[in-house]
Amino acid sequence: MSVWSEPTRQRATEIIGRYPKRRSAVMPLLYLAMAEEGRLSEEGMREVAEWCGITPAQVQAVASFYTMYKTEPVGRYLVSCCTSISCMLLGADEVLGAIEDQAGVPDGETDKEGHLSVEHVECLGACGGAVAVQVNYELIEGVTPDRARALVDWLRNARPDVVNGDEMQELFGTRRSFEWAIHEEDGAVGPYPAFQPLGTVGR
């Protein structure tokens, strides 16, 4: 009676097999559910509960504890602007304001088309490259208000299938926390991290 596709079911079996107790797989399986449906649904959480041998209420309790399990609908591109201390010192509030204005979406909300969601977040571990912004958890550092507006326009117009951090850094970023010489092909395909354990990524 599973609603998941065959590859997803296989992956779930593999993931559970890597943990000493199946309940430990609840976090990776919640991500798997998001990747399967593009969002986290009630249905998805029930499925996770069954796989992990716990009740849907227990899964709900876990999901609601963490900010990255979005139980409300989120746009195709989730734009997260850090406004914690180090970024605030270098204009994060202004960058967030520029994103909200250009997107026409206030902090914490999603546009009508389901295209863009905007949120402020706490420290992204990129404080040496303030201001830090992520799109679907792919990082851009050294973002200024002007560059933030250009980023929003680009997401609106180019509608990339895969969001690639290195590409966005080149287009919209400036100073980074540290140099990065390698170009990565991988990127995010939805508003959840492009990482699945056991070696498979977003694409």
């Binding site: 605030m88 010192l89 571990g125 201001v131 926390s177 010489a181």
Partner: protein, 443 residues
């Protein structure tokens, strides 16, 4: 100049320091192999003698922690890669740029603690670092360095890269363990739940930070004597510091212990942006009590010197603020973080941090009252009895007391700035920096 240890490979081989080929070509995995021939006692003693202190914030001796591992088996190893303390970004660099160094440290730690199952808990927002680590883990499995019978021995070791989901509190080791068990990431009471005795699935568990483990291959390679010789101060080895805020050259710097704050900020960090004066800095991540130039600039950067001055080196994150910074807003931003990240188990932390945030916001917005500073100190005293540092700890974990550090800074150094907000009916500062294109050109 500085001897680089954990950042040496990435400095010398920027293009491929993350690959197993480069790692092995530069001596990698030799020490893990050697560790297989050593006993638990030998390894624990060597690490104890090295003086290695945990780099996750608490600065506890790694070797001593290992020696506390209870005899029951199985035991587990958990790598803390949850790095979320505002200002801190050193582990991300180690994860992205030299993941095999971490894996080798992990193997050594697993051997020393007889663990056959290890977890690398990476914060959820670190999708790229998690991908890089997973790739490195896959490479190590393919080479036979992980999995069944590592390096052709009879020692099995499995590694799972586990992604968090956006909760700072999961960096606290017992919360992390709950999270790994598939529960809400709420800290457990210590005692009785010391991980080395009752950790993951109530079994003996070692939790160590990414930077801590990344040092281990070097400790074995240099020997504990060689490692301690790297530093002329009481704290051994090197220390990664994440420098951010109003310095010209923010970034991660691997420094020897014992340089001064003046050297860190003005030499290594290139001094203050736009030549503004230094107002204050936070020496060890958002949790730490603040320092000011009049008192602290020439102190040595060591665990003891920092503790004597009433703060901590914590996660090694240094947040620098210049004369134009509104310290009320800076305090608000830090308190907001802790209020948001409180897990809610302890009433003083859950309620107190939200109240502090609200009061700071109203001062910043010009709606403050004359009693507000005293009110905040009262609230702070409720969260952290006696307002001492290190805190007396009446909450389950140190998150609550950490939220009080900025209030202590207002009390000790910036009373007049709070008053100026009240008198001016709002923030008297012109508005902070906006890092803009024009400044990029200036640089």
């Amino acid at each position: 100049m500085t001897t680089l240890v954990v950042t040496k490979r990435m400095a010398e081989h920027p293009a491929d320091s993350h690959t197993i080929t480069r790692y092995q070509a530069t001596g990698g995995y030799q020490q893990a192999k050697r560790a297989l021939g050593m006993t638990r006692d030998e390894l624990v003693e060597e690490v104890k003698a090295s003086g290695l202190l945990g780099r996750g914030g608490a600065a506890f001796s790694a070797g001593l922690k290992w020696s506390f591992l209870a005899p029951e088996r199985p035991s587990y190893l958990v790598v803390n890669a949850d790095e979320s303390e505002p200002g801190t970004f050193k582990d991300r660099q180690l994860l992205e740029r030299d993941p095999h160094q971490l894996i080798e440290g992990l193997i050594i730690t697993a051997i020393a603690n007889e663990a056959h199952h290890a977890f690398i808990y990476v914060r959820g927002e670190y999708s790229k670092p998690a991908r890089r680590v997973q790739k490195a883990v896959d490479e190590a499995y393919a080479a036979g360095f992980l999995g069944t019978g590592i390096f052709g021995s009879d020692f099995d070791l499995d590694v799972v890269v586990h992604l968090g989901a956006g909760a700072y509190i999961c960096g606290e080791e017992t919360a992390l363990i709950n999270s790994l068990e598939g529960l809400r990431g709420e800290p457990r009471l210590k005692p009785p739940y010391f991980p080395a005795a009752k950790g993951l699935y109530m079994k003996p568990t070692i939790v160590n930070n990414v930077e801590t483990l990344s040092n281990l291959p070097h400790i074995l390679a240099l020997g504990s004597a060689g490692y301690t010789a790297l530093s002329s101060s009481a704290d051994t080895g090197t220390f990664m510091m994440s420098l951010s805020g109003h310095v010209r050259k923010p970034g991660n710097y691997e420094v020897p212990h014992g340089i001064t704050w003046r050297e860190l900020i003005f030499d290594i960090g290139g001094g203050m942006r736009r030549d503004r004066a230094l107002k204050t800095w936070i020496p060890g991540g958002a949790s730490a009590p603040w320092f000011v130039p009049e008192k602290h600039l020439d102190l040595e950067i060591t665990k003891d010197a920092t503790a004597e001055a009433g703060s901590m080196l914590g996660s090694g994150a240094v947040i620098v603020m210049d004369e134009d910074t509104c310290v009320v807003r800076a305090a608000e931003r830090i308190v907001r973080f802790f209020a948001h990240e409180s897990c809610g188990q302890c009433t003083p932390c859950r309620e107190g941090t939200s109240w502090l945030e609200m009061i700071l916001r109203r001062i910043d917005e010009g709606r403050g009252r004359a009693v507000d500073l005293d009110l905040m100190l009262d609230l702070g005293d409720g969260i952290s009895i006696g307002l001492e540092w290190p805190p007396r700890m009446t909450t389950i974990c140190p998150l609550g007391p950490s939220a009080v550090s900025p209030i202590l800074a207002l009390r000790d150094y910036f009373r007049s700035e709070v008053s100026r907000h009240l008198e001016a009916g709002g923030c008297p500062f012109p508005g902070g920096h906006i890092a803009g294109e024009e400044e990029e050109e200036e640089e």
